[in-house]
């Protein structure tokens, strides 16, 4: 029986969180907590893998906890098993990384109790099988991650990030609460098995979809609900940032898939897919453009998470559009692409955040303008970060390319859709996806190039040292997985099949293992194929052929000398390209439209000894058009209503009475 074991392991995680409260002052505590978390995550990972690979039947369990008339329902099916793999893989590697990284934590008492609890809560969200347990675990996940964001609470920016996170998490949970209320219907059966049987009117179903989109989208970082994410994710310690960005956003995606694909059942209207597709496309491009404008490495990565969430939602939107037209084979491709990207993003985003953590430990800096040249003192970290950067830029033969390729293949099936709006939306989403992929490459050339290449821009960067063995083991295990998933995509697709079948009325992609040379052929009659293994093999052979023949038959000597730089080398590291100057062409091309980017140069007249000034001004369109007017309106209304606080008791009583009468009247009219 895997389910009781899964639950008790999650409970042990919670328990060691309690233990950490008592023991966090001891120096050995950090190792103990992360070691136990690592072991438990590995066991959970193994169990989820066995469940998914055996395509085992769903198992359920009801415990007499929670609401007395409901109990706590738990269920392990293919979908939750897949997401359990994502969560516990991320959790295991983050714990391994933290075995080394956690030693540098200045306030372990603020991290250690919440870290295992955070892991346990994410596991519980995935196992929950009724609305109450789901929301309970979801809220606990938000709170424990909030506590981790506030670990370094004395920095004013972190306090602001934590506040914004709390507000957005409350909004999200409120939306989910209402969504479950609608899903449960008039009789209020809150376990998922009952919810699946409830028949909903199209209007109510659409409302539930929008509420679910708000509730899970605010956690995942869907534009325009992403504003908290780039502030909160970087504020936490780096292994927690990796978990929040790489894993917790996936739990949010799980919530969306569970509610919309599973609980709501068949999509009723075609515009559902269109809505999700459009949101996904906008999120992808805006996310990467925001990321390109950042100088703070962790914030750049957090904004880039927004882009990847957009790519996942493009896949999900396509799947909804296909399902609403009963095109299940195409929907299977779109769903596979989305789930594959979920796995990929959890791999490379965790890798990149942990690499940033290693840089942060070595230099104490996360501002790229003060880094540089780290490839010399930290060659291994640089190599792992480079693999992650290439994977996230969707470069073959790594894994990021495979999921984007699958998404493109799904978009190419959209001309079969009957609705005109979808026909126009799909190629537009394809163009946005292509644009975001190309911009992502630019973004990660900047992230890797400015941080690790060139010459050090500060004394801290010059004195950096390679990170510890635990951290390197964590980085390289993720880098190896990025490569493996890229060259053996067929195995991953086959592994995903049970989950896809569950969401798609049984339709899944054809089995890939039987293809010659392990080629990926998602749609048999289209014959579009990709073989990462052979691409890697050919590249390796050509590269080795070139290297061997040149070194054998031509020259192989090397001389070192100062850089040439067209004859005018400048010894100052300040003469190098910086993060800001690297992004300048893209800022001028895209940013002048999206962010109203303005550059101000103040040049003192000749003879004046003052330094010239250069400033870039960016405006956040989402904040300016959405949140700023909203907050202004709320403050205005609350100021107007302020006099309500100074009424007499009689006035209050009459207000209460009036409200009662109005409500009763409303109910009378409704009936």
């Amino acid at each position: 029986m895997p389910l009781p074991l899964l639950l008790s392991l999650s409970m042990i995680l919670l328990a060691i969180g309690l233990y950490a409260i008592l023991a966090s002052r001891r120096a050995s505590c950090s190792r103990q907590i992360y070691g136990i978390s690592l072991v438990i995550c590995v066991i959970l990972l193994g169990m989820a893998l066995t469940h998914l690979l055996n395509a085992a039947a769903p198992v359920t369990l009801t415990l007499p906890l929670g609401l007395p008339w409901l109990g706590a329902h738990f269920r392990l099916d293919a979908l939750s098993a897949f997401f359990l793999i994502v969560v516990n893989l991320g959790g295991a590697v983050a714990s391994l990384f933290a075995l080394g990284y956690g030693q540098h934590e200045p306030a372990p008492g603020r991290v250690l109790p919440f870290y295992p609890a955070f892991l346990a809560d994410m596991n519980l969200v995935l196992l929950a099988d009724d609305a109450f347990t789901f929301l309970f675990a979801w809220e606990f996940m938000s709170l424990s991650s909030w506590a981790l964001v506030m670990a370094h609470h004395r920095e004013p920016a972190n306090a602001r990030a934590g506040y914004l996170y709390l507000v957005m998490a409350c909004l999200g949970t409120l939306a989910l609460l209402l969504a479950f209320g609608l899903l449960a219907g008039a009789n209020g059966g809150y376990d998922f098995a009952t919810i699946r049987t409830v028949e909903m009117t199209p209007g109510l179903a659409a409302l539930a979809l929008i509420l679910a989109l708000i509730g899970t989208g605010s956690k995942a970082g869907l534009v325009p609900l992403h504003v908290w994410l780039p502030l909160a994710h970087p504020a936490a310690p780096s292994h927690v940032s990796a978990l929040m960005s790489g894993v917790m956003t996936k739990v949010a995606v799980y919530g969306f898939i569970r509610i919309v694909f599973d609980l709501l059942g068949e999509p009723v209207a075609w515009w559902w897919g269109g809505l999700v597709l459009a949101l996904g496309g906008i999120t992808a491009v805006l996310g990467v453009l925001y990321a390109l404008m950042q100088h703070d490495l962790k914030r750049l990565l957090a904004y880039h998470t927004v882009e990847n969430i957009g790519i996942i939602f493009i896949g999900l939107g396509l799947a909804l559009a296909f399902q609403s037209n009963q095109m299940y084979a195409s929907a299977a491709l779109a769903l596979t692409a989305a789930l594959f990207h979920v796995l990929n993003h959890s791999l490379f985003k965790s890798l990149l955040f942990m690499g940033t953590g290693a840089v942060l430990t070595a230099t104490g800096e996360r501002d790229m303008e003060r880094l540089g040249g780290l490839i010399h003192p930290m060659p291994w970290t640089a190599l792992a970060f480079l693999i992650g950067a290439a994977a996230i830029s969707a470069l073959p033969p790594l894994n990021g390319f495979v999921s984007e390729w699958l998404t493109f293949q799904a978009i190419l099936l959209t001309p079969e859709l009957p609705q005109w709006l979808l026909k126009f939306l799909a190629p537009a989403a394809g163009a946005l996806l292509a644009l975001s992929a190309a911009l992502a490459a630019a973004c990660f050339v900047k992230a890797f190039g400015i941080t690790f290449l060139g010459r050090p821009r500060s004394p801290a960067a010059a004195k950096a040292q390679e990170t510890d063995r635990y951290s390197l083991a964590a980085l390289f295990s993720l880098a190896a997985l990025c490569l493996l998933a890229g060259i053996l995509p067929g195995l991953v697709v086959d592994g995903l099949s049970p989950a896809v079948g569950l969401l798609n009325g049984g339709a899944q992609l054809p089995a890939q293992q039987s293809q010659p040379w392990l080629t990926l052929v998602p749609v048999a009659d289209v014959k579009s194929s990709y073989n990462g293994l052979l691409v890697l093999l050919f590249m390796a052979l050509s590269g080795i052929f070139a290297a061997v023949s040149i070194h054998r038959f031509a020259s192989n000597s090397v001389r070192r000398s100062p850089a040439w730089d067209c004859g005018f080398p400048n010894a100052s590291p300040a003469a190098q390209y910086t993060a800001g100057s690297f992004a300048q062409p893209i800022r001028r091309v895209f940013g002048s439209v999206v962010f109203q980017a303005r550059e101000h140069v103040t040049m003192p007249p000749p003879g004046d000894g003052r330094a010239a000034q250069f400033a870039v001004q960016l405006r956040d369109p989402v904040w300016d058009c959405g949140y700023a007017p909203l907050t202004a309106a709320i403050i205005k209304i609350s100021t107007k209503l302020n006099y309500l606080q100074y009424l007499t008791i009689r006035q209050y009583l009459s207000l209460v009475f009036g409200a009662l009468v109005l409500l009763l009247l409303g109910i009378a009219l409704w009936r």
């Binding site: 190039g449 014959k527 590269g543």
Partner: protein, 318 residues
């Protein structure tokens, strides 16, 4: 036996493009010189340059890392593999299914990624300016290229290049508006990606307008030879791509006899010669544009590609 012949033909194609690549660069250079009433270098000058570079020492900047030394091999390998997957004289070769057109575009992206990183590696301002501008150009050129891929695959029903080429040989393609738009988009992308005038000037070395040459400024010796060869291969790749999609006539299919292969190679060479001539003519006739006009040029290519794809969504006969 057929299998072995297939592998041999595939290997032959790989070697053929490697040997042809410097020739096509030399051909374009000679033609450009003669169009300017100069005598110009010999057709074989690029081979001589390569041989000279290969024999020289590598002079490495003091701040260069291992990435700077590995990058030329990676770039060369990625572009060579991409170029070998484009059908040249025959379609349906044994490994043509390894990577489709999207993957070929992405392989070029891999090469560009490492070239830009190599530009940043030495920490010089020229390397930085080249890398930053290259990525800006690519951020528009790559989506434009993918939109062209969309158009083709909507018509042919597949993204696999060999199958697209075979489809283009069939009679029911005809003249289409969407294909014309795709051709235009591809030509514009090819000009930008190969650093040709009006986007970049392959002949300059000391101007702030340069993009590709600025990135490779610190390279010397065998590393520079590999990068130059990769650049020639990329030019050849785009010419092969244009010819196999838009003028596929004369191309043979795998498994034919030797005469068919020889005809295919002759037709391929003729197409390359014509393509190089057109490129030289175009480059002589036009002035280079400012860097911040390039986004409009490539934005137009992106819009043309998107329009071509949208037309096919409206009607399959356009």
């Amino acid at each position: 036996m057929a299998l072995i012949t297939g592998y041999l033909v595939q290997g032959g194609q790989m070697l053929l493009i490697l040997l042809l690549a410097p020739l096509i660069t030399g051909w374009v250079r000679t033609l450009k010189a003669q169009l300017l009433r100069r005598r110009g270098p010999s057709l074989l000058q690029p081979y001589r340059d390569l041989r000279k570079l290969l024999r020289k020492d590598v002079v490495l900047a003091g701040s260069a890392s291992w990435l700077f030394r590995v990058a030329p091999y990676l770039i060369f390998a990625a572009i060579w593999v991409a170029a070998a997957l484009v059908p040249t004289f025959a379609s349906g070769l044994p490994f043509s299914w390894t990577a489709d057109l999207i993957a070929i575009v992405a392989l070029l992206g891999t090469a560009r990624f490492f070239l830009a990183l190599a530009g940043l590696d030495t920490g010089t301002s020229f390397g930085g300016i080249g890398a930053s501008r290259e990525m800006m150009i690519a951020s528009l050129a790559e989506p434009a290229m993918l939109m062209m891929v969309f158009t083709l695959s909507l018509l042919a029903g597949t993204t696999e290049l060999s199958a697209v080429a075979q489809f283009m040989l069939t009679a029911d393609v005809g003249l289409r508006v969407s294909l014309a738009l795709a051709l235009l988009a591809l030509v514009m992308v090819a000009i930008a990606e190969n650093a040709r005038i009006p986007v970049d000037n392959p002949a300059t070395h000391l101007e702030l307008t340069m993009v590709h040459e600025a990135m490779v400024l610190e390279y010397s010796g065998r590393h520079l030879a590999l990068i130059e060869l990769a650049a020639s291969l990329k030019l050849l790749l785009y010419l092969s791509l244009l010819s196999c999609i838009f003028v596929p006539w004369g191309m043979t299919t795998a498994g034919e006899d030797l005469t068919a292969y020889l005809t295919g190679i002759a037709a391929y060479l003729a197409k390359l010669g014509l393509g190089g001539f057109l490129l030289a003519l175009f480059e002589t006739g036009i002035a280079k544009m400012r860097v911040f006009r390039v986004d409009q040029f490539l934005g137009a290519a992106l819009m043309l590609g998107l329009l071509g794809a949208l037309l096919l969504f409206v009607s399959r006969s356009l």
